[in-house]
């Protein structure tokens, strides 16, 4: 029973992180039709940024968010302006190759800048609560709260603000949005910026629970893809649900199947992904657009 | 008009669909439609926009999965066939929003639509045989595209692409041809050419044809039978004159106005 309760708590905490990690990916894919294969690398950039503020400036990792969010927003804005906007109307293969190139570029630049040695942040919040033999770490609880808060904020932004309206209009019909005078290039750049800012924030949460290394991005991209495929593009509550489901699979497989290390979590993700893709090519909630045209 | 007489009703149908149902989300695009096409027929399939005509074609060619119903072609139940198997059995079609291989040449488009029935691995590993190329060239003549033989299909005009699609549909020497708005967006001169070709195919080559058409005049001209769809249901099915005079049909098609008013 304790084992089960512990696994459940772990799954919820991990799911919260996944939800924040995936939402930027889902937003960018949903609004622009770009599958950002450099997504995991942006998480890692956010994590290194947090580590840098923690190590060299001495800030508490959570405080680093005030730097991470604006810096990552600017980075995302820039990437969209100079790179993605140029290829947005070309076949999807082009954006796949370009963002894959970007992933390699970022991962290896990180290795050059920070070497391959894994880095960890230090935090004063390393305590935990015990509830009926189940351990609940303080850091992960804050992680979960922050993730939920940021997702709620994004949801409000998209539904309540003029910017959100413009973003949704651009997502639905690029040409029509252009015609009613929406400056689509900057709407996209802002969208990409918001997506990357959230992704960077997920990097901060990441840094608090795992060591950071340059090449841990790809598994995160794969997870983001799996979750988005499950939950439908740009669907925030779906993303939360899908993240929890994937985290539950990973944690419970890790807990109950003997001889399975954490590394195989990725294999579990992949199995889930392929099964979903093959059995439900339209996504679990029917949110995926046709891949052609 | 020298149209073939419609076949006797007691002949067995070439294509028969029973109770075909198909929905997209909550919308029933087809709600239990029965169709039968007899050898030698030219059947017109008409109905207002969004009434399910193209969806019916997609179901018959097995591109779309059915929610209900069975389809028989040449007496074989093809409900669980793949589209390519249906095509190889002798059913070919054209598309409402033209589907030619835009970046391939006209002749390559033709060669790529040949009858693949019986084609096996080793046989595929050689260039198209002379008789196939010859057939393609003959058909290009038939659809008046000899001049454009080595042009990229994407560079042809809309009407020429429609003609190319008809040529491609003929490459496999099909028994049944489904034409989806073969004359829409085509200039009047070419419309006449297309009408002419359809007529020849039926009378001279004995092809069975089903055509989706919004041009009622053309339907009246070419077809022996007409099937009318409305909101996914079959509204009428029968001899051309009778169906077009049916007030229920003109009601569905044109609102209050009569067909000629």
């Amino acid at each position: 029973m304790t084992e089960f309760g512990q696994a459940l708590v772990n799954a919820i905490m991990l799911g919260g992180f996944y939800a924040l990690m995936v939402i930027g990916f889902s937003l960018i894919w949903g609004v622009m039709g770009v599958i950002n294969l450099a997504h995991g690398e942006f998480v890692v950039v956010g994590a290194y940024l947090t580590w840098f503020m923690n190590r060299h400036v001495g800030w508490e990792p959570f405080v680093a968010l005030v730097v991470v969010i604006p810096v990552m927003f600017a980075l995302g804005y820039l990437v969209q302006r100079v790179l993605i906007n140029r290829i947005i109307d070309r076949p999807p293969l082009v954006s796949l190759l370009v963002t894959y190139g970007l992933a390699i570029l970022i991962a290896n630049s990180l290795k050059l800048a920070f070497t391959g040695t894994p880095r960890s942040v230090t935090t004063a919040l390393s305590g935990f609560w015990r509830v009926a033999d189940v351990t609940i770490p303080v850091v992960k609880t804050i992680d979960l709260m922050l993730a939920l808060a940021m997702m709620a904020a994004l949801s409000l932004l998209l539904t309540r603000s003029r910017l959100g309206k413009a973003i949704r209009a651009a997502a639905q019909n690029r040409r029509a949005a252009r015609m009613v005078g929406i400056e689509i290039g900057s709407v996209f750049a802002v969208t990409f910026g918001i997506g990357i800012a959230l992704t960077g924030a997920a990097g901060t949460l990441f840094s608090l629970t795992q060591p950071i290394a340059p090449f841990v991005g790809l598994p995160l991209t794969l997870r983001a893809f799996a979750i988005t495929t499950m939950s439908g593009l740009g669907n925030i509550s779906g993303a939360l649900f899908g993240s929890m489901a994937l985290a539950a699979v990973e944690v419970f497989v890790g807990t109950y199947v003997p001889g399975v290390g954490t590394n195989l979590g990725l294999v579990a993700t992949f199995v889930v992904l392929v099964v979903i893709l093959i059995t439900r090519p339209q996504g679990l909630f029917g949110g995926l657009p046709p891949a052609e045209e | 008009m020298n149209r073939r007489p419609p076949c006797a009703a007691n002949a067995s149908p070439l294509l028969e669909g029973r109770g075909i149902g198909k929905s997209f989300g909550g919308l029933a695009a087809l709600a239990g439609v029965d169709v039968a096409v007899y050898p030698g027929d030219v059947v017109g399939l008409i109905g207002p926009n969004g009434s399910g005509k193209t969806t019916l074609f997609n179901c018959l060619t097995r591109l779309d999965g059915l929610d209900a119903g069975r389809i028989h072609f040449k007496g074989v139940d093809i409900t669980d066939h793949q589209p390519f198997q249906v095509a190889r059995m002798g059913m070919s079609r054209t598309f409402q929003n033209i589907r030619v291989y835009r970046k391939l040449t006209v002749i390559e488009n033709m060669l790529l639509s040949r009858q693949w029935r019986g084609a096996r691995w080793p046989g595929l590993l050689r260039p198209s045989r002379p008789e196939v190329t010859e057939r393609a060239d003959d058909l290009l003549e038939f659809v008046t595209l000899v001049e454009q033989r080595v042009d990229l299909a994407g560079s042809l005009s809309w009407g020429q692409q429609r003609l190319l699609e008809i040529g491609m549909a003929l490459m496999s020497d099909p028994d049944l041809i489904l034409l989806d708005e073969a004359t829409s967006g085509v200039n009047p001169l070419l419309v006449d050419a297309i009408r002419d070709r359809i007529m020849t195919l039926n009378t001279t080559h004995g092809k069975t044809i089903v055509l989706i058409e919004h041009n009622i005049e053309l339907v009246a001209d070419l077809c022996s039978r007409v099937v009318v769809l409305d909101h996914g249901e079959k509204l009428a099915d029968g001899e051309v004159g009778a169906v077009l005079d049916d007030p229920a049909v003109s009601e569905a098609y044109f609102g209050r106005r009569g067909l000629n008013g």
């Binding site: 090519p281 | 390519f84 693949w116 033989r149």
Partner: protein
């Protein structure tokens, strides 16, 4: 007809140029033997050329699937890896001689591709790409975990055998064969079907093309060939572990070589691979740790600036334009 007559000398030139190139490539190792390893062609040049020829083959395989059928495969290195591990395991654990392990590696890579392809090639566009990326990442983890068989993270050591000319000739032979084979297939009905799938898959299916058969056959053939390269690479390297075998930058190399030369053309990946190696050895050999960064930039740059690759620059003169091929066979 006049136009065709004028083209004859160009084709003749191209053919004899190719012949000269092949003869030079075939004679290179003899120069190396004469030069005692420090002449014009020393062993390390030969090694580097061997790597280049392997990339020619790999890029051609990748392009055969991704360029001709349009299924962008981000996990192709998985099949290279299967070949490498087949050779590695059979030689180091079962004591097999080298050549039979190549056959086993090729067959297991080909069979795996057909099985995986059966599942993943139903997926469209990006879904396929990511499923293959996932396949590759999963295989790498499995190689890490299945320690009794694969040696796990610490890897496997193969019996050392430093016969550079042998590997060179094997790689050269395979590259020539594979490129010739793909060139042949491109002109057959099978090749036409592959292009049809790239242009409009449902359309091809409805015109009688058994698309899943064509796709998986092409995929299996390419994987088989990549499995052979993997086996040769493993033996030549005498050591394998999950990270150097299942290296994502190897897939990137294949993609870059193909798009640099011209995606979907037969000669493009050959030109691209050659150029990439020349750049790597000559231009950025001196600042090695930058090499993958440059690689990423290169991929982005090509997509932005040279979407049709070097062949695209040649335009009509490339002789690869389908209009040209058919003009020569024009009837009447």
């Amino acid at each position: 007809m006049l136009e065709i007559a004028q083209r004859q000398p160009i084709r003749w030139l191209r053919r004899s140029g190719l012949l000269v190139l092949l003869v030079v490539l075939a004679l290179l190792p003899l120069l190396a033997a004469r030069g005692d390893g420090d002449g014009m062609v020393n062993n390390s040049t030969l090694f580097s050329l061997t790597q280049m020829l392997m990339l020619v083959t790999l890029a051609s395989n990748w392009n055969f699937v991704s360029g001709l059928t349009g299924y962008i495969d981000f996990g192709h290195v998985a099949f290279f890896g299967l070949g490498a591990y087949a050779t590695g395991i059979l030689m180091s654990k079962a004591g097999w001689p080298f050549l039979p392990t190549l056959a086993v590696g090729a067959l297991s890579a080909g069979a795996a591709a057909v099985l995986i392809g059966r599942a993943t090639m139903h997926l469209k566009g990006p879904y396929f790409s990511i499923a293959m990326l996932g396949t590759f990442a999963a295989l790498r983890e499995i190689a890490r975990v299945a320690r009794p068989l694969t040696g796990g993270g610490p890897g496997l050591t193969l019996p050392p055998y430093l016969n550079r000319p042998l590997f060179y000739y094997l790689a050269l032979g395979q590259a020539v064969l594979v490129v010739a084979l793909y060139r042949w297939v491109r002109r057959t009905e099978f090749g036409l079907m592959m292009l049809g799938i790239r242009e409009d898959e449902p359309g091809a299916e409805m015109r009688g093309v058994n698309t899943i058969f064509v796709k998986t056959s092409a995929f299996g053939l390419a994987a088989l060939s990549s499995g052979i390269v993997g086996g040769m690479w493993a033996y030549q390297n005498t050591f394998i572990d999950p990270d150097i075998v299942f290296l994502d930058s190897r897939t990137i190399d294949m993609a870059i070589a193909s798009v640099l030369g011209g995606l979907g053309t037969i000669i493009g990946p050959v030109i691209g691979a050659g150029l990439l190696y020349w750049l790597r050895d000559v231009v950025w050999a001196s600042f090695l740790q930058w090499h993958l960064i440059v690689q990423g930039l290169l991929l982005i740059g090509i997509m932005l600036v040279l979407p049709n690759g070097i062949i695209g620059l040649l335009g009509d003169r490339s002789g690869l334009d389908p209009r040209r091929i058919w003009a020569r066979r024009r009837k009447r």
